[in-house]
């Protein structure tokens, strides 16, 4: 049984999405926002974090009065699972196009974003990425793709900057670097950038060790790190191998000044710290993070922990942020017309966000101001140690020997 009010509401949503000329149309009560995330399959963890982040933001936005410039219209999410598979990702975008979604959020992973951004471009639907950091995504000349967070190359560059500054500030005598990376797109491109930039801060890459992401053991790789007499080990890999690397280094008592990952799968991850406790201490990671000095951040983290009963995760934060980028554009566009929303997105100029950078987009859709931070695990807490303006603590480097700790 449909009440009259529901019927009117539904009808308004339908006319709103069919793109009737604005003059004939009352202000929409609901704005349909599409979302494609890998909720099942290999990337399900990240996809679900992203989904939660967007839901959280949308609830906040709606509770706060919706989109004011459109008479307080509420955002309505249409969440679709792309199963971590590109063909399914394509069909989610088609479905969202048909449903009349004004913009699309998601899809966490680069391999999926190659497909979703291309489809969104074809249909001229604005697509705000939450993570998907492969540089190439915004190098294809797309007009409807926007990414607020740092890409892979930026992350590697910033981390090298922080490492150089740290070596200078603390007068460290570290020189020998070993790169260890998974041999997929993410690990390899990061290692390429690092290899190019590290000599610039006076460090030598003495060995570069690729490994398969599905590896069962990193014992050999750790032997090579030991033989290379590394000062600093820089992993760029996923959770499983990253965790194996730390544990194997501890087990083989391979002591180095720092294990400093770039977008490390187990770096800046409270779930890893929860599982391995003390073992995670002193690991460093250049990664996405929040601005710890932002006045709202404590409240957001507390709300996060209360809602999901597990410690904070940055994947959630970036998805949450992406919803706010879209909200801001909708507010300024004051329209559900996709092209107007796109133009509003292109003119984004957001300051004072929980991410530690302002958000604006260059003509490729990348936010050139985005930056990663350098975090270290101290006393099983993730704290920002670089750059100085965001630092919560001084870095501990060289890290204490394993023998006294495990």
């Amino acid at each position: 049984m449909i009440t009259r009010r529901e019927f009117v509401k539904g009808a308004a949503a339908v006319t709103g999405s069919l793109g009737f000329p604005a003059v004939l149309r009352a202000q929409p009560k609901e704005i349909l926002v599409g979302e494609t995330h890998p909720l099942t399959g290999g990337l399900a963890r990240e996809g679900n974090l992203g989904k939660n982040g967007i839901e959280f933001a949308v609830n906040e936005i709606n509770a706060g009065g919706g989109i004011r410039s459109m008479g307080g219209a509420k955002l309505k999410l249409m969440v679709l699972d792309n199963e971590s598979k590109p063909p399914v990702a394509i069909s989610t975008i088609e479905k969202l196009k048909d449903a009349g979604a004004v913009a699309i959020l998601g899809p966490y992973a680069s391999g999926l974003a190659f497909v979703t951004t291309q489809e969104a471009e074809k249909y001229k639907i604005p697509h705000v990425l939450d993570v998907a950091i492969a540089d190439q995504i915004t190098e294809r000349g797309f007009k409807y793709t926007f990414r607020a967070c740092p890409n892979a190359g930026m992350g590697a560059t910033h981390t090298v900057d922080y490492l150089g500054a740290m070596a200078r500030d603390l007068k460290l005598s570290v020189k020998r670097v070993v790169l260890i990376h998974e041999d997929g797109i993410f690990g390899k491109s990061t290692a390429d950038t690092l290899q190019k930039l590290l000599p610039g801060i006076g460090m030598d890459v003495v060995e570069r060790i690729p490994h398969s992401a599905a590896t069962q053991s990193l014992a050999n790789e750790v032997l090579r790190i030991k033989a290379a007499k590394a000062d600093i080990v820089i992993p760029s890999t996923y959770y499983g191998p990253h965790s194996l690397l730390l544990r194997t280094m501890a087990e083989q008592r391979v002591d180095v000044a720092a294990i400093l990952s770039v977008y490390g799968g187990a770096g800046s991850q409270y779930r890893f710290i929860k599982d391995v406790a003390k073992l995670a201490d002193y690991m460093m990671d250049g990664n996405h993070w929040y601005n710890p000095k932002h006045p709202r951040i404590k409240g957001i983290i507390a709300a996060f922990e209360k809602a999901y009963q597990h410690p904070f995760a940055y994947e959630w934060m970036l998805a949450y942020q992406s919803a706010y980028v879209l909200k801001d554009a909708l507010e300024r566009a004051a329209s559900t017309d996709r092209d107007k929303v796109r133009d509003a997105l292109a003119a984004t100029n957001l300051k004072d966000q929980i991410v530690p950078y302002p958000i604006a987009f260059n003509d490729k859709g990348q936010n050139p101001h985005a930056r990663t931070l350098l975090m270290q695990v101290l006393d099983q807490k993730i704290v920002v140690v670089y750059p100085n303006e965001f630092a919560e603590a001084k870095p501990v480097i060289p890290m204490p020997a394993w023998a006294g700790r495990v």
Partner: protein, 313 residues
């Protein structure tokens, strides 16, 4: 009943003119596509009874060859897809020769095909000149029909429809040819067939070549449709499974099998996905259960079941 195929074809031809749903067009395009590669697998796995668990090998060769030729030499995928098919036939002949010369059958043949595909996957991951682990991103040129790129999905829809109809027609012809009978004889009982003078090695090798070439054409279509292929998408075991599921569910060794299977699984996938939204994984659980149910209740695929009913009624 005889007119049914023509009616279906007519419907398929007019659907894009009548509906404006991108989702419907996209979903049908994928269904036709999976039916097409399924038909490729069907020649070897269904008709000749050689169960390959590594057809991603040929799929990947097609996808990679057409994309690489376009990216590196500017050759249009319209030509590149035939180069890919030729290369896949060559690889099929080599792997086929090795497997059949040494008399591999059943599970052993399935696993050796898996291993060949895995070797290609690992090699593609490690060779930088084929894009390495990143794979290949096909550069987009807007609406460029000469380069297999289209501004509108309907072009892809009609291309794969033509490919599918041609494949089904070809397989139909094959079924009633001498080669087709020989393949069926080998599937039912290889030694008996050889006793009757069938050169099993040669017949199986021919089936392998046809099957490899057709699957590679599908791979080329995929790469141009998605403009992106990487080692796992191209050569991964998950892809091998995707390729063989549909013809088996529909009915291996029948012309209609891959098509029916593709419609069923496509519909099922979409259906279960819509059914349970908030619980990640539930729809794949249902998919798994239905797969198991299909094996028990439709041991010869949907086509087998239909035939049985036809005989009874």
């Amino acid at each position: 009943m005889r007119r049914l195929p023509l009616l279906l074809l007519a419907a398929a031809l007019v659907i894009p003119l009548l509906v404006r749903s991108e989702y419907l067009i996209g979903t049908l395009t994928l269904i036709y596509f999976f039916a097409f590669v399924g038909q490729g697998w069907n020649i070897l796995g269904g008709y000749a009874g050689q169960f390959s668990f590594g057809h991603a090998l040929f799929f990947g060769i097609g996808a990679y060859t057409s994309s690489l030729l376009f990216v590196k030499a500017g050759l249009t995928p319209w030509v590149g897809m035939w180069c890919g098919a030729a290369l896949a036939v060559l690889v099929g002949l080599v792997t086929g020769h090795l497997s059949f010369r040494f008399g591999l059958r059943g599970a052993y043949f399935a696993l050796i095909m898996l291993a060949f595909a895995e070797i290609f996957r690992v090699a593609a991951t490690n060779l930088d000149w084929v894009g390495g682990s990143f794979g290949i991103l096909v550069p987009l040129r807007g609406h460029a029909p000469a380069l297999f790129q289209f501004g509108d999905k309907r072009y892809f829809y009609y291309i794969i429809l033509v490919m599918l109809v041609a494949a089904c027609y070809g397989v139909r012809r094959l079924e009633n040819s001498k080669l087709g009978y020989q393949m069926a004889a080998i599937r039912e009982n290889e030694s008996a067939a050889e006793g009757l003078g069938v050169n099993a090695y040669q017949v199986k090798l021919t089936a392998m070549a046809l099957s490899a070439g057709l699957t590679a054409l599908g791979g080329s279509f995929y790469a141009q449709y998605f403009s992106y292929v990487d080692p796992a998408i191209g050569f991964g075991p998950a892809n091998s499974i995707e390729i063989l599921l549909r013809p088996i569910i529909g009915g291996a060794g029948t012309v209609w099998g891959p098509l029916l299977g593709s419609f069923l699984l496509g519909g099922l996938g979409e259906g279960t996905r819509g059914l349970v939204k908030s619980y990640a994984g539930v729809h794949l659980m249902i998919y798994g259960v239905i797969l198991m149910g299909a094996v028990v209740f439709l041991p010869h695929g949907v086509m087998g079941w239909l035939r049985q009913r036809g005989r009874r009624g």
